[in-house]
Structures are given as C-alpha cells and as structure tokens.
C-alpha cells in the first residue's frame, strides 16, 4: 500500500476511534482509498460496481472496526474486507462469463511472449492514457483466480503467505497462480507495450 501510511500510529488511531472519536476514521482510511478502489475495479471490471463495492468495504470496516485484531496490519484487514465484498458481488451477479480453459488447466505449461530485447519502459509512460488502458485491460482480463492473487500480491503488495491466507488457498497454489498470472500479463502486454512506445524516444529533439 502507499508509503504515506507507514509513519502513522494506526493502532493508536484505531483505539481512539473505538473510544468514541469516530471522526478519526476519515483520516485512518485516507491513504487507502485508491488501493481499495483499484482492487474492487480490477476484480469487478466495471467502474460503477467498483465504486459501490469500495465504498461498502469502507463502511463495513468502520462498522466492524471492533473486530479488527492488531495481529494483522489495518491495510491487510481492509484488503480482505474488499476482497470479500468483491467476491460476494461476483457471486451475486453470476456473470455467465466463465473463465477460459487456462483456469482449469493449472498444471499446464505457460509460454511467455518471446522477445529478443526489451527496452525499459519508464513509469513516466503511465502519464499516457493509452498505456494505462492497456494495463487496466490486461489485468481485468485475467481469469478470475489469477486476477485475485495478482492483485493481492503484486498490486496491493501483500506477501505470498498473506495472499494465500486472504484467498483461503495453500501457499503452493498461490505461487503457481501468481506465476501464471505474471506470465499471462507478460505474454499479452510485452508486445503491446513495445508497439506503443516510440522507438526513438531517447533521441534529443533538435
């Protein structure tokens, strides 16, 4: 999650909220708004649903703050609530959109996109909407079981063990799914990103 959350005493804030200073909850969640929404959107693939689910997750976190046990980080707890909220909405929708055979074939080999060289794409490229859209589409198009683990581990920065716990699957299964998710993204995105990045971008302008 965001670095801005790291220098705060969240356990003290939570104790204060539980003691009646409920308004402090606004400040407690502020660093996490974006990541909770990102997670909901990557899971639900629809902005309106994601906005709704993210808001509901924050409301549930507020109502259930007493149940938060200090063993986990608040951010991890919040992410679990968001994951459950998104999962229950996916179940309700029962979108007949079944995931591809890739999902069923967890033991099969994955082949990445073959390249001969890779020119580093700097994070500044994210200022371009077309680059952001490519990444968004690639993430939201991952089959559901791969998307979950990818979002937890690589976007929300949970550890493999924390991701496994949040998903209720084994650490070994988490690693396998994560590996497949990453290679699926590489296979799809590497050729696309190569194409949208201008080849001569390192040359100075005259």
């Amino acid at each position: 999650m965001t670095a801005s959350s790291e220098n705060r005493d969240e356990s003290q804030m939570i104790a204060s909220i539980l003691a009646g200073n409920t308004h402090e909850f606004h400040r407690l969640i502020q660093p996490y708004e974006r990541s909770v929404y990102s997670m909901a959107l990557s899971m639900l693939q629809n902005e309106a649903d994601a906005e709704d689910a993210a808001q509901e997750a924050f409301l549930k976190a507020f109502r259930n703050l007493e149940k938060f046990r200090g063993e986990a980080k608040f951010s991890t707890w919040l992410i679990s609530i968001t994951l459950n909220e998104a999962r229950s909405r996916l179940r309700q929708k029962k979108t007949a959109k079944t995931d591809s055979l890739d999902e069923l074939n967890e033991g099969g080999h994955m082949s990445p996109a073959l390249l001969r060289d890779w020119r580093e794409i700097p994070s500044a490229a994210l200022e371009r909407q077309e680059v952001r859209l490519l990444l968004q589409d690639a993430i939201t198009d991952l089959p559901h079981i791969y998307r979950e683990v990818f979002v937890l581990r690589d976007m929300e920065d949970l550890s493999v063990n924390q991701s496994a716990e949040a998903l209720g699957i084994s650490v070994a299964a988490t690693k396998v799914r994560l590996h497949r998710a990453r290679l699926m993204l590489q296979k799809k995105l590497a050729p696309q990103l190569k194409q949208v990045m201008p080849k001569k971008r390192w040359l100075p302008w005259f």
């Binding site: 539980l18 409920t22 994955m110 994210l126 968004q136 493999v160 590996h179 990453r182």
Partner: protein, 92 residues
Amino acid sequence: MVLECKHVWEHISGYLDGTLDAAVLEDVQKHLEHCEICSAILDSTRNILILTADERVFELPLGFSEWLHARLEAEMQGFTYRPSETTDAGDT
C-alpha cells in the same frame, strides 16, 4: 545442470521474488547469461510488474472521496462502539 528455455520460464516468478533454491538460481543465472530471449522475457516481466503496481494505473473516479466521506459521516451520526469491558451492556 543446463536448463532449456522452457524450464527457465517456470522459474521466472520465483526468480523475481527471490525465492529460488540456490542450486536452481545458479542454473537460471547461467542460462540468462547467454540467452537473450530469456533475459528479455525476464526484463519485460519485471518491467510490467513495476508498471502494474503503480497507483496511477487505476485512478479514483471524480467525486469518489467526497461521496465516501459523506456516507461515512452519515454512518457516524449517533454511532457508538460497544465498550469492550461490558460486552453485554449496550444491546439495543
């Protein structure tokens, strides 16, 4: 042990997470030294993970924050947590 490319691909994720066994890591590294394809696959995967982890990928919709905090504010009106010492008091 000399690894073929397709075996190296199986270890890309573990390589990036730094969780490979020492012996496997050494074999993978040896392979990467002379295989430009596997090196490019590794570099591109690492690059893509950095990009997808960037918080700018998914932007908050306009007004999200205002609406969220307004809903929370409404929720907070008259809301009290049950005091932990007297868990059976405070039932409504």
